[in-house]
């Protein structure tokens, strides 16, 4: 996955992501695609969660999946969830949970809870930073006010690191793939360098849906695992989703 929160010169925030999934889950030798990623394409849906006839939050989901990997509370905040690979991974949390230790929350249920219950960017960041969870993940959160954008690096029990944008210091965006931002990504899966190169090339004077979509359309940020691209602007409550296809030759991840 690749998630971006970027701020334009006027202080407007944009939050976007590529959702990559299905690694090592069957390779279609004929079409050079991942089988599960292909099966996920028709499952992509935009959801509008309503109460009393009013939108409470919007998400992009795979039909049948009830947690939230991409979502937005209009006017308040947006969030995305990226996988974080770790030996102390989700399977351990899951086993603990099955054995009766149920204090930890499911990572994608916590995001839905945050959309449901948090009424500010700060509340959402606090909830996603300090709630015990089953698996290590990256929560990427964007707000409605200038400077509200952060990558929350989580292990299962606690907050590992918080990396926030600082537009006044020239850090007008945060970009997260699937590796800790204080370490170099592995040479065999470096989507961070091309993503940052393309975004920096755009500059904050031109950042908008169009230019962020271009960044997320560039290989290998776009790859054979990419199922969809989502673009969110919290203040307007806009969420656009595009089901993706990476033309050959395209890197497998």
């Amino acid at each position: 996955c690749t998630s971006i929160v970027a701020q334009d010169v006027g202080g407007t925030l944009y939050h976007a992501r590529n959702l990559d999934f299905g690694l090592f889950m069957g390779w279609d030798t004929k079409n050079h695609t991942w089988l599960i990623a292909e099966y996920l394409h028709p499952l992509v849906v935009n959801l509008d969660f309503t109460r009393n006839g009013t939108t409470v939050y919007k998400t992009v989901n795979f039909a049948g999946y009830i947690g939230v990997l991409t979502g937005m509370k209009p006017g308040v905040f947006s969030l995305t969830l990226n996988e974080r690979f770790n030996v102390n991974g989700g399977y351990i949390g899951l086993i603990e949970w099955i054995l009766g230790y149920r204090k930890a929350h499911w990572t994608s249920f916590l995001t839905r809870d945050a959309l449901e219950k948090s009424n500010s960017y700060e509340e959402a960041v606090d909830m996603l930073s300090n709630t015990e969870i089953l698996a290590p993940v990256y929560y990427i959160v964007g707000g409605s006010k200038p400077g509200q954008g952060a990558i929350i690096t989580r292990d299962r029990q606690s907050l590992t690191n918080m990396y926030s944008m600082a537009p006044d210091k020239g850090m007008w965006y945060v970009l997260e793939t699937n590796y800790d931002n204080w370490t170099d990504p592995p040479f065999f899966d470096d989507r961070r360098t091309p993503g940052k190169k393309c975004l920096s090339g755009v500059g904050n004077k031109k950042v908008d849906f169009q230019t962020i979509y271009d960044v997320l359309s560039t290989k290998p940020v776009l790859n054979q695992l990419t199922t969809y691209t989502a673009l969110m602007q919290v203040n307007k409550g806009t969420l656009e989703t595009y089901i993706r296809h990476c033309p050959h030759p395209c890197w497998a991840w």
Binding site: L47, W106, V215
Partner: protein, 118 residues
């Protein structure tokens, strides 16, 4: 570039081109005032067959590793559902009922992200 990892120059003018997209997904409302067991029915009416196809493919992949694992999914995962917090327990049971897919298999789909951090 002709060799992996197929990097390229930064793309421009792609939005909202269909060159690297196959379209936009449909939008559904999830009415939180409805009983959790029925609030996903409309989505499943349209996407249930796709969910079944995806889960069947996952089962095939698991079965290729060990056929016994699929039996374990259907034997043990349903026991987990009743321990999930509300409304997630009822929503999974509702999706299972709406699609005719085993509830343990719906849960299997929902735990992918937790497990794959390994």
């Amino acid at each position: 570039q002709d060799v992996p990892p197929y990097t390229e120059d930064c793309q421009h003018g792609m939005y909202p081109s269909k060159a690297r997209s196959t379209g936009v997904p449909p939008t559904f409302k999830i009415n939180l005032d409805l009983d959790p067991q029925i609030r996903w029915n409309e989505v499943m009416k349209h996407k249930g067959a796709n969910v079944k196809a995806m889960i069947d493919q996952v089962k095939k992949l698991i079965s290729d590793v060990s056929p016994q694992l699929v039996d374990l999914v259907n034997k043990y995962l349903p026991e987990i559902i009743e321990k999930l917090p509300a409304p997630y327990d009822a929503e999974i049971l509702g999706i299972s009922k709406a699609t005719g897919i085993e509830d343990g298999e719906i849960l299997l789909f929902n735990i992918f992200y937790e497990v794959f951090t390994m």
